[in-house]
């Protein structure tokens, strides 16, 4: 008796399974899924390709940190990557500049952590990062490009623009002076534009606005009346604040202050939280780099730990922001003025070619905790895996501290200040020890209204009481369960790998769960995961898939494969030949950083892995589990026909294979080529019954191209009876720009009385 058995799209959605005995796995689940993807209609297709971002980097060092910085304003996004001792960036809006250096000199091959601080006490957006070894840093992420080549020793660096892109006002003056512009009507609120810049569009001059009335803006002097010119109100993208005067004195008052009888600090642009460099003071101890706690027109108050030497006014003291440096062509140089919207005034420039990227230099905060697990929890930066930090001892005195099992919390809305008074008050920084589970903190991830603190064998949640006490409210969540490395933050769940190789989610697993629960979503791959090295587990959730990269063996040096979990079908789509040191998104597109190189690739890009003009092939393999044909009674079963259905584009070759009884060698193997010459609309493919013996060639039909340019095919191939107990079917492909999708496998099964005595056990 012959009968047909089909595996179709719904069955393919079971995806890769590696737990049950192969003969007991669900029909349609796969034992091999290499570089495959389950399509949106449930078929099996090769994974999509990758494309190198920017120029190829031949460094031997792998990516040790990748992040995309998206600011509150504007449309730009800046991707940052770390490798070797370098931090480089790629700006979406300056793609022509390619990758450019932000900073170097970090401890080689150290892992960097990142978090964004948007809108804080500085009203500025920062990328906060640290690698455990060098100081905690913040970076504004501003990028422009050289406008014309810069010669060595030049004193002006000309760029496309040093202004932010937004234009807040665009007016023409009705009256003017060297420090004011007046407009018609009363369009403004008083001091609405303080801290912004006026941009004289004709001359390109920019000046900081120090005050405004309803119709007059006042700014730092232009040196002469500009006339009734057209002007804009803009923001300076690059940091600038400078005060140089003989009216500046230093007061040893604990906390120490710097005073200016000329009351020029605010008009110069200084703000609380700024890191400043002082030079020119008569007392050597007063020259250095300090953090501003508060600032008024006449007084800058420094951190309590700073010990200035009392000094009366008289010397020409210069105070500038520590961040007033730009980096281009790989070299950093300080700037002293921004006279025009397109220039930086420098002491002596280094050479740079036209269109080279120019970026602001990160600011360093040596006293802040040096950890590389960073989270932003309700405008507080939480730092874990801290190698060293400053902390208060039992007596309240500041001292050095080292505890990778504690997490450090910044002041509310201030990402660079982790201090707290001897008697901590609300809003200050904090240090929380987690003497549970042992080991370092492996990640910190905010989710819902808490931040989760992960160690290898411990998870707790923390949030701050929204009251006058502002205390950390901690809840141990899981004991003896934790994350071996970084955690993937998904839309609804967190995903992490445990030390015993359980790919686990944490979330509200069931609607009745009051408390988040963990679930081993990787259970179906347990036997596979057990063979992997997971100590450098990294991943990302993108659209409805979770991608995570691990090592294919426990001895593999670096992550070399990526597994794909489909949240919709709750199954694994396969194992991709992508070794990632980290994932990120730029412009909502998915990227990964090489684990064994310094390159970043866009994922899901096409049908080949593209590096420059080279299109590397993608090798795709799929095989179902062995299905058990063992019949009841004394029957034996056989296959004599297979049926295939799917979509294919011209120039694509698929190799179909069928296996029996656990053999690695297929008993049937043939190619199906979607060459254009084989496309005979509505007709047989290349042979017909009557002209060719059965089994010599596949028979089938193929359709007109669909909107995606593919043609639907279906064909059946016959072959001599293959008696077996267990059979498996699959396909392989190898090449660039191959395009196909398998949507159905069919089997013609014949059941017959067993005549094979070897398969009957006598008792």
């Amino acid at each position: 008796m012959a009968k047909d058995f089909y595996i179709d799209s719904e069955n393919f959605k079971y995806g890769l399974e590696a737990l049950s005995d192969t003969t007991k796995a669900r029909a349609g689940s796969a034992r091999v899924m290499k570089n495959c993807i389950i399509t949106d209609r449930g078929g099996i297709a090769p994974r999509l390709g990758t494309t190198l971002l920017g120029a190829e980097n031949t460094s031997a060092f792998g990516i040790k940190g990748i992040y995309t910085f998206r600011k509150s304003f504007g449309t730009n996004e800046v991707m940052v990557k770390c490798y070797d001792d370098e931090m480089e960036a790629y700006s979406k809006n300056h793609a022509g500049a390619g990758w450019f250096k932000v900073k170097d000199g970090y401890t080689q091959n150290s892992e960097h952590g990142f978090v964004t601080s948007l809108v804080n006490v500085d009203n500025q957006d920062y990328l906060i990062s640290c690698n455990r070894f060098e100081p905690y840093q913040r970076w504004r992420g501003e990028v422009t490009q050289l406008n014309g080549a810069v010669s060595a020793a030049a004193t002006t660096v000309t760029v496309d623009s040093n202004l932010a892109s937004d234009i807040f006002e665009s007016k023409t003056a009705t009256a003017n002076s060297a420090t004011t512009l007046t407009v018609a009507g009363t369009p403004w609120a008083t001091n609405q534009w303080v801290g912004f810049y006026v941009h004289i569009t004709g001359t390109g001059k920019i000046r900081r606005i120090t005050s405004n009335t309803s119709s007059v803006i006042t700014f730092n002097t232009l040196g002469g009346s500009p006339g009734n010119v057209a002007f804009e109100v803009r923001q300076l993208a690059f940091p600038f604040a400078k005060r140089s005067a003989t009216t500046i004195a230093f007061v040893d008052s604990n906390p120490d202050t710097i005073t200016d009888s000329g009351n020029g600090f605010l008009t110069a642009g200084f703000k609380a939280g700024d890191r400043i460099i002082i030079s020119g003071a008569a007392q050597a101890a007063n020259n250095g780099t300090f953090n501003i706690v508060t600032v008024t027109a006449g007084t800058i108050t420094l951190e309590a730990e700073i010990a200035l030497t009392a000094e009366t006014a008289g010397a020409t003291v210069t105070i500038v922001l520590a961040s007033m440096s730009i980096t281009y062509a790989g070299i950093t140089i300080p700037y002293t003025d921004v006279d025009l919207a397109t220039t930086f005034t420098v002491g002596s420039a280094h050479a740079g070619a036209d269109n080279v990227a120019v970026t602001v230099t990160p600011e360093l905060y040596p006293q802040n905790p040096r950890g590389n697990r960073l989270g932003n929890f309700l405008n507080r930066i939480v730092v874990g895996n801290v190698r060293s930090a400053m902390a208060r001892d039992a007596g309240g005195a500041q001292q050095g501290f080292a505890s990778a099992g504690s997490y450090f919390v910044s002041k509310l809305n201030n990402p660079v200040d982790f201090r707290f008074a001897a008697t901590r008050v609300a809003g200050e920084g904090d240090i929380v020890s987690t003497p549970y589970g042992g080991g370092d903190i492996t990640d910190i991830v905010p989710q819902e209204d808490v931040a989760y603190i992960f160690k290898k064998n411990y998870i707790e949640s923390v949030k701050y009481s929204q009251d006058a006490n502002d205390l950390a409210v901690r809840e141990p969540l899981k004991a003896e369960v934790g994350s071996i490395n970084r955690v993937i933050k998904g839309a609804d769940d967190l995903y992490f790998m445990t030390t015993d190789k359980r790919l686990t989610s944490i979330g509200r697993v069931a609607a009745r769960d009051i408390k988040p629960q963990t679930e081993n979503i990787g259970l179906v791959l347990k036997r596979l995961l057990d063979t992997y090295g997971v100590d450098e587990f990294v991943g990302i959730e993108h659209e409805h898939r979770v991608y995570f990269s691990v090592k294919s063996t426990t001895t593999t040096a670096k992550n070399d494969i990526t597994l794909v979990y489909n949240k919709l079908s709750e199954s694994f789509e396969g194992i991709w030949d992508i070794g990632s040191g980290g994932f990120t998104r730029l412009n909502n597109l998915l990227y990964y950083g090489e684990s064994n190189g310094a390159n970043i690739y866009q994922m899901l890009t096409g049908k080949a892995d593209v590096v420059g003009v080279t299109r590397y092939p993608i090798v795709s393999k799929y095989a179902t589990h062995f299905m058990n044909l063992t019949a009841s009674k004394a029957n034996i079963q056989a296959l004599n026909s297979l049926y295939f259905e799917g979509y294919i584009k011209g120039g694509t070759t698929i190799t179909f294979k069928a296996w029996k009884d656990f053999s690695d060698e297929p008993f049937l193997q043939f190619n199906f080529e979607g060459t254009e010459t084989s496309f005979l609309d509505g007709a047989e493919l290349s042979a017909s019954m009557g002209t060719e013996s059965l089994a010599l060639r596949p028979l089938g039909t193929i359709s007109d191209p669909d909107p995606e340019g593919r043609r639907h095919f279906k064909f059946r191939v016959y072959f001599p009876f293959q008696y077996m107990n267990f059979f498996s079917v699959g396909h392989e492909s190898s090449g660039a720009d191959l395009d196909f999708e398998i949507t159905r496998y069919g089997f013609m099964v014949k059941e017959d009385v067993s005549m094979n005595q070897l398969k009957v056990k006598s008792i």
């Binding site: 031949t58 031997a60 060092f61 792998g62 294919s552 063996t553 001895t555 593999t556 040096a557 670096k558 070399d560 494969i561 030949d577 070794g579 090489e594 064994n596 190189g597 892995d609 590096v611 080279t614 590397y616 092939p617 993608i618 090798v619 190898s734």
Partner: protein, 271 residues
């Protein structure tokens, strides 16, 4: 160049390479013992075999073992020939594109180039590295020429000890010993440097009565041997003289001072 023979677990290619690439990355560089390989495991020259997972294509490369611990291992030659007639010949068509993870990399395999290298090594070391023969050490020797044999040269042009081949030895033996026989009291003897001579002279003496006499054998007027004889009346008394020496190159007379039926026999040894 040195090359060590080591077995290493199969590796996977860590990053795609094109036919023009000059370096490659591996999934790991661990040996069977789980310890990272070092340049010393390979020597100064090493070969790798790249093949796809289905064993349908392969490429042999030479790589620089000094870079084994680097993420990028430097390739020194691509597309080496599939036979072993040379180690260094690159074949353009043998240079292929290789796909990460899909590609198996054998860096401890027995490539034809390794065998050729071994042959070249043995060929080279058999002469260059072998000891020279001496009276106490077995080793290499050099065949002596006729002239060297004739001259008694000890060491050949290669610096090795000389040995005499049978044919040269045989050809020399005939002229190595020469014998000159002369009847009479005088023989003009010509010798070459180094030749040794054995000189005999025999005869008898009749005085004409009884008495005694002394017979001398001289070379170049230098007495080499004497014999005193007493002769009874009317009798003859036989005498025999002899000497050996290495006279050096020259031509001088050998003389017997008196006698009848004197025969001088000279055996010259040497050429």
């Amino acid at each position: 160049m040195s090359l060590n023979f080591i077995t290493i677990p199969t590796k996977r290619l860590g990053a795609n390479i094109t036919a023009a690439s000059t370096s490659f990355k591996l999934s790991d560089i661990l040996g069977w013992d789980g310890v990272a390989l070092t340049a010393a495991d390979f020597g100064t020259q090493a070969f790798a075999v790249f093949r796809n997972d289905s064993n349908t294509v392969m490429e042999i490369m030479e790589f620089d073992p000094a870079t084994i611990a680097s993420t990028n291992i430097t390739i020194t030659r691509r597309g080496l020939k599939f036979n072993s007639d040379t180690i260094t010949t690159e074949v353009t068509n043998n240079k292929l594109t290789w796909i990460k993870n899909e590609t198996l990399v054998e860096i401890g395999t027995n490539t034809p180039q390794m065998y050729q290298w071994l042959k070249n090594y043995i060929d080279g070391v058999a002469i260059a590295g072998a000891a020279e023969a001496s009276t106490t050490v077995k080793g290499i020797v050099e065949q002596a020429t006729q002239a060297e044999t004739n001259a008694g040269t000890e060491t050949g042009a290669t610096g090795a000890k000389l040995f005499v081949s049978p044919n040269i030895l045989l050809s020399n033996l005939g002229s190595f010993i020469t014998i000159e026989t002369i009847a009479g009291l005088t023989h003009s003897l010509t010798t070459t440097a180094g030749q040794r001579v054995i000189v005999w002279a025999k005869g008898d003496l009749h005085i004409g009565g009884s008495g005694s006499a002394t017979i001398t054998l001289q070379y170049n007027s230098v007495t080499k041997d004497t014999q005193s004889i007493d002769v009874a009346y009317a009798h003859r008394q036989a005498f025999s003289l002899m000497y050996t020496e290495t006279p050096g190159a020259g031509t001088q007379n050998i003389t017997v001072s008196a006698g009848d039926r004197v025969v001088i026999i000279v055996m010259k040894i040497g050429i």
